[in-house]
Every structure is written in C-alpha cells, then in structure tokens.
Amino acid sequence: MSTETKEKYEKYYVPEQSPWPIVGAIGLFLLAFGAGNFIQQSTDKVASNDGSWGWLFLALGLAIIVYMLWSWWKDAIRESKQGLYSAQMDRSFKQGMMWFITSEVMFFAAFFGGLFYARALVMPWLAGEGNNAMTHAILWPEFVAQWPMIVTPAGETTEGMGAWGLPAINTLILLTSSWTLTIAHHALKDGNRNALINYTAISAALGIIFLALQVLEYHHAYNEMGLTLGSGIYGSTFFMLTGFHGFHVTIGTIFLIVMTIRCAGGDFTAKNHFAYEAGAWYWHFVDVVWLFLFIFVYIM
C-alpha cells in the first residue's frame, strides 16, 4: 500500500521563483494602455486624444508578452526535460487546458448569444411584432424583417454572404486539418516520428490556407459586397464571430508550427507530450467553433 501511494503521489514539483508572471503583468498593462490610446488616436472620435504614440506602447506591450511567453515556456520545457514533472503535474496541465478551452467556448457563446437574440427577437420587434407596432410605425416604418439583414432600420444596405463558395471550402479545409492532426497524434503515440512531423506540418499548412482564404473573403466582402463592420447587426455579428474565430485559428496555427518544429527537434515521447496534446485540443476546439459558425452565420 505504502509504495503504491508513494508512486501515485510522488512529490509534486512546486516551481522555483519566476520573473515571468510579473513581466507578463507589466506587458499586459502596456498592451492595454497602448491599445486604448491607439484606438482613440486612430479612429478619430476622441478629440482630446490627438497624439500618435499609442501604437508605441501597444507594440512594446505585445513584444514583452511574446518575450514573456517564450521565456516562460522555455523554462517549463527545460524543467520537463529535467524530469521534474510528475504524472500528477501532467494532469494539472491537462485539466488546466480543458478549463481554459471551456472559458474560450463561453467567450464565443457571448457573441453567438448576441447573434441569436438580435435575429430571433430584436429583428421581428423592430419590424413591429408583438406589442411593438408603434416602435415600427414611428421609428422605422420602412424596415422589413429579413436575414441576412441587407437593409438596416436606418437604411444602410449590404449583401448577404453565401455559404457554398469559399466558406464551404474553408469548412472542408478545417475538417481535413483536424483529421490530419489526429493522424499525427496517433503517429506520436505509435512512435512514428516521420508521420508525426509530416502530418502536423500538413495541419499547420491547412490552417494557413484557411486564413489566406478568409483574407480573400474579407477583401471580397469589403470591396465588392459592401459588407463591413458598419453594415448593421448582420455585419457586426458576421465579422466579430468570424474575426475572433480567425484570430483563434491564427493562434492555433502558430501553436501547430511550434509543435512541428519541436517534433522535428526530437521533443515529445509517446507517453509524455502534454504541449502537443494541448495544441491538438485547441485545434479541435477552433474546428468545432467553425462548424457552429458555418451553420449559424453562413447557412442559416
């Protein structure tokens, strides 16, 4: 019993002191301070803030955060290779990642909630449904409830984005990348290093293609369809949902590129590869979010 307990609860590594958390806090502060000033200075809506130095703090904050993350993970990788991390520690990381992804899901839920509320309730109400006949008659009598909302109550017009061109191709690309990543993950567990590297690289490449196509889509929307962030609630939800998703794909792609490099460098074993698994989970998460986007933003 006692040896079993000892094995199961080997000493938990409480890490040495680290400068990175405080560096990260300073970086976040500069990032936030810089972003606030940069936005005020560049969108011309705040007369009292007419400088042009906000981006300096923004860039500095961003640089500090990148440096902090790099160094923090470098320390963690070194400690892992020194064998300081127990199986219990590994579980802490895994559970931490799962709850982090849960919080990300809830971030997207806020925007999906906004989309559903605006479309299912606000739009009919603005068109006079329920007890809102006078709202409709007095404020915007011309307004017609239709989705995509190609004419806003104030009369702003746009076009709706179709689902079966680029977006459908992008769906295929992301689904394929999840599949190739799963192949890579199995290769890692089976000790097949070449397949691991190749399929991880393919997944990352598919992520880059997805992002490139999304840039094309945005370009098309802005320049040919007149669909912008300012196109009423349809444009707002479209760009915020797909935009934040695209941002997460970017993070995930960087994650996969780093994993490819680390795999090529000989990191990870069949049993010990938390970082790789975290990257894979993250990738599947952005994939699932995209499926919801494809259904609720594009198709329906």
């Binding site: 609860y9 000493k11 938990y12 409480v14 890490p15 002191q17 680290s18 400068p19 990175w20 958390p21 405080i22 990260g24 806090a25 300073i26 502060f29 936030a32 972003a35 606030g36 936005i39 005020q40 969108t43 809506k45 009292s48 803030n49 219990q88 579980r91 802490s92 990381f93 559970q95 931490g96 709850w99 849960t102 919080s103 809830m106 971030f107 839920a109 806020a110 925007f111 909630g113 906004g114 509320y117 605006a118 309730l121 606000v122 739009m123 109400w125 603005l126 329920g130 915007w140 806003t152 109550p153 912008t228 962030l229 300012g230 009423g232 609630i233 444009g235 707002s236 760009f239 915020m240």
Partner: protein, 517 residues
C-alpha cells in the same frame, strides 16, 4: 531547507507560494476596500442633505460607478481569492496550488488593472460615469473617452479571474491528499470549487460584452444600436448573464467560511453537510437562468417575466436550506461567542434579511415599483456588506492565528464587530424605507421627504467607514505584537489546517500528502 524562503522584494514579485500570494491578494483587496470606501463616503456626504453640496452630478456619477466597480472587482473578489489561496491547499492536504506560477500572474495583473481603471480619473471627461452595470448607450454613445481604458481594465481583471479560477478547480480536482474524497472536503473548498466554475463560465461573457462596447464605440458595429438592428437591451441581457452568477461568485465563498466557523464555535459537526453541497450547486446552476430579473421594467414579453420571476424565487429554496442548516448547527451546541463567531452569526441574520428583500424584488409586478430605487441598494448592500465582507472579516479573525501565529485581541475584535453591526444597519436599513417611498438610486439630489432617512444612512456610513480603519489597526497590531497562539486556538476547530499543520503555518506545508481517514 525546511522553512527556507526568499527574502526582500523578489519574494513577493517572483513568488510561487500560495501563502505569499494569498497574503498579497488580501492586502490588495483591503487597499481597494479603502479606496472604494472613500468613494462611498463622498456619496454619503453628498446625500447627507438634499440639494447639491460637495460634488457636481457628473462627479457623483463617477463616484457611484467607481465605488461599485472597485468594490466588486477590487475588494470582494480578490479577498475571496486570497482566502482560497491561503486555505484550499492546507485544507485538502496539497503542497501548493496546482499551477503556482500562473497563480502569481493572476495576482499581479490586478494592481495593474486597477491602476489603469483609476487613471481614468485623470483623463479628459473624467472617469466612467454610467454606473457599475455600464448599460449601453450610456457606456457607448454617451460615455467619456476613459471608457476605453475601463474596457481594457475589465479585460485584465477577467484574465486574472479566469486564471485564478482554473487554478482553484485544478487544485481541488487533482491535488487532494489520498483519502480526501470530494464529500469529505471542507465546505469552504466546495463553495470555492463551485465559485470557480461560475467564474470560468461567466467572466468570458463579460469580456464579450465589453468587446462589443469597444467595437460599437470605435469600429461602427451596431450590437447595442437599434438603428443598425441591434438593441441596447441586448447589452443588459449579456451583462446580467454574467452579472447574476457574479453575485453568487461574491457570496458563495463567504457561505463556505461561515460553514467552517459556526460548527467550530458550536462544537458540533455542521448540520446537513451533503445538503449544503447540493444546495450550493443548485444555487450556482439556477444562477444561469435568472438574469433577466434585473430587467423586469425593460419591456420583456410577459412569458419572460413569468419565467424569470419563478426561476428566481426557486433560489430561495436552496438558500433556505443553507440558513436552516446554519441555525440547526447552532441548535443545542455549546456556543461561545468569539469574534469570528459573532461575525458569522451576524452574517446569517443579516444575509437572510438581504435574501428576503431579494425575494421581494423577484416578484415582477412589485419590482416595477422597487426597480432602481434605494430599496435595491439596501438589498444588495445587505448581501454584500454583512454578507460577503462580514464573511471575509470572520475568516480573517478565525484563521489569523494559523497565518501569523498570533491571535487578534478579543476585546478589540468585539468592538470592531459591535460597531460594524450597529453602523451597517444604521447605514443600510433606512434605505429600505426611502426606496419603498420612491427615492431613485444614483441621483445626487432628492426630495425633502427623504431627508431623515438619508441623514441616518450617512451617519451610519461614516461610522462604518471609520470602524474599518479600526480593523486595519487590529490586524497590524496582531501581526506585530499579537498574543502568541497555541496550535489550535479554537477548541472546536476541525480540518487538516488545524490538526496537521503547525501554528503559524510553515512556508511550505504538506510536501508529502497527509493521510486522510
């Protein structure tokens, strides 16, 4: 090596120790408590008499807004996280929090976030002035430029809270000593586990809400603008989807604290342990489906009003279970009334008053009269001050010997308690009456007929504020020259932190997990 710890400023800046981080959280929350409290003093000074005396209406609005934001995000929440850091590892037999470096990051983000928020006072147009609930379009179309910094400040607080919550959940799920099954955990650990779950579910939604504000303000989106097909009411829905669980985030850990303290001074086991756990979980789950009771007067469909009214009143059931259990724990116990117990008993009574006024507010037709009056202010201050803050205070008195090896002076503690008890009621009880009579909240001037109640409330508030300074002196005096505590200063106390750890707790505890039978 046994109790070696780093010294100097680096000890605090670079620390990975849950006790250091807990201490920093607690001190930070006290500083914020004083900052937010002084804003409350400005509010009560202005409201001492009708008419405008000290501040102009815009400054008054900034005071109510910043008072609320600082108390919620800067004082109450960090104080609970501080307690979690100190207590959870010791109570479940873990050597530290599961992710110690991230723990330090969670803390250090906060001073920077609140620096950013407080900087807004120096900006043209002043600080945010739209109330702590920052309803659109007050916070979008009509808000001062500093709102953008408020938005990023909220993002930083959210990042801090989410990481803190992840740490708590992982610690509880993965770090318990062998034998410490879930249903053996102290109730404080249980309530924090559930609180952490709520935090992870709703802080990202708050981040979404402020992000929509930011893009509405600067990038032309129409989330909260009906002309573009959005809706200002949508902001309220998203905000309160965060906001209602948030109020349980602030109170559940305090439930846990009194569930530890009342049995200790009743010298009995907690009555109905399992029902306490299930009641806490039920309250948390219900908190996700009641948010629109904050918006009964906004013009919702009747079906919505009915649903949210009934769902809200359901919360009274698990809450009643908890109050019943606390009382039943004391029933026929060998009670003694040391300072932590006094604060806990006051918690039960006064929190229940706040709970009852909550049930009154839950009734949609009645809420039409109470909405946005001082009755609401009375209600939520009764659950927050003699609720959350008395809970934290009780915890400080109760665990102070474990933290510092020294006992707080009972005589001074009792002064602190009785003065707080008198002044908290003097401050907030009259607000029920002025509210029922129709006095609106967040307005610097009022009708002559409310003068008496406001005078009482202001006198109470000044007293309440001063008494908290007394608390600061008690804590400092204890740390410096308090009476040395024996290993277990409270004979009825139970739990790993009292039974298996020296007093004061060494810098590192449970390097090897204890056995729990």
């Amino acid at each position: 090596m046994a109790d070696h710890h780093p010294t100097g400023i680096k000890r605090w800046l670079f620390t990975t120790n849950h006790k250091d981080i807990g201490t920093m959280y607690l001190w930070f929350s006290f500083v914020m408590f004083i900052v937010g409290g002084s804003m409350a003093m400005v509010i009560r000074a202005e409201l001492y008499q009708p008419g405008l005396q000290f501040v102009d209406p815009n400054t008054f609005n900034q005071m109510t807004t910043m008072h609320g934001l600082i108390m919620v995000f800067g004082a109450v929440m960090p104080s609970m996280v501080g307690l979690a850091n100190w207590l959870i590892p010791m109570q479940i037999g873990a050597p530290d929090m599961a992710l110690p470096r991230m723990n330090n990051w969670s803390f250090w983000i906060l001073p920077f976030a609140f620096t950013l928020l407080l900087l807004s006072f120096t900006m043209p147009g002043g600080a945010p002035n739209f109330g702590w609930t920052f309803y659109a379009p007050l916070s979008t179309t009509y808000a001062p430029p500093s709102t953008d910094f408020f938005i990023f400040g909220v993002h930083m607080m959210g990042i801090s809270s989410i990481m803190g919550a992840i740490n708590v959940i992982v610690t509880v799920f993965n770090m318990r000593a062998p034998g410490m099954t879930l249903m053996k955990m102290p109730l404080f650990v249980w309530t924090w586990l559930i609180t952490a779950f709520l935090l992870i579910m709703v802080m990202p939604v708050l981040a979404g809400a402020v992000t929509m504000m930011l893009t509405d303000r600067h990038f032309g989106t129409s989330f909260f603008d009906a002309a573009g097909g959005g809706d200002p009411v949508m902001f309220q829905h998203i905000f309160w989807f965060f906001g209602h669980p948030e109020v349980y985030i602030m109170i559940l850990p305090a439930f846990g604290v009194v569930s530890e303290i009342i049995p200790a001074f009743s010298r009995k086991k907690l009555f109905g342990y399992a029902s306490m756990v299930y009641a806490t979980a039920s309250i948390a789950l219900l908190s996700f489906i009641v948010w629109a009771h904050h918006m009964f007067t906004v013009g919702m469909p009747v079906a919505g009003e009915l649903f949210f009214m009934i769902a809200t009143m359901l919360i009274a059931v698990p809450t009643g279970v908890k109050v019943f259990n606390w009382v039943a724990t004391m029933w026929k116990g060998s009670l003694t009334f040391e300072t932590p117990m006094l604060f806990s008993i006051a918690f039960v009574i006064l929190f229940t008053i706040g709970g009852f006024s909550g049930v009154m507010l839950a009734m949609a037709p009645i809420d039409f009269q109470y909405h946005d009056t001082y009755f609401v202010v009375a209600h939520f201050h009764y659950v927050l001050f003699p609720g959350a803050i008395f809970g934290t205070t009780a915890a400080v008195y109760y665990w102070m010997p474990k933290w510092t090896g020294k006992k707080c002076n009972e005589k001074w503690g009792k002064w602190h308690f009785w003065l707080s008890m008198i002044f908290v009621n003097l401050t907030f009880f009259p607000m029920h009456f002025s509210g029922l009579a129709g006095m609106p909240r967040r307005i610097p001037d009022y009708n002559m007929m409310f003068a008496g109640f406001n005078e009482l409330a202001s006198i109470g508030a000044f007293g309440l504020g001063l008494v908290q300074i007394l608390f600061l002196f008690i804590v400092i005096k204890t740390v410096r020259s308090g009476e040395k505590s024996e290993k277990k200063p409270w004979d009825g106390a139970t739990g790993l932190e009292w039974d298996q750890i020296d007093t004061p707790a060494p810098y590192h505890t449970f390097d090897t997990p204890p056995k729990v039978s």
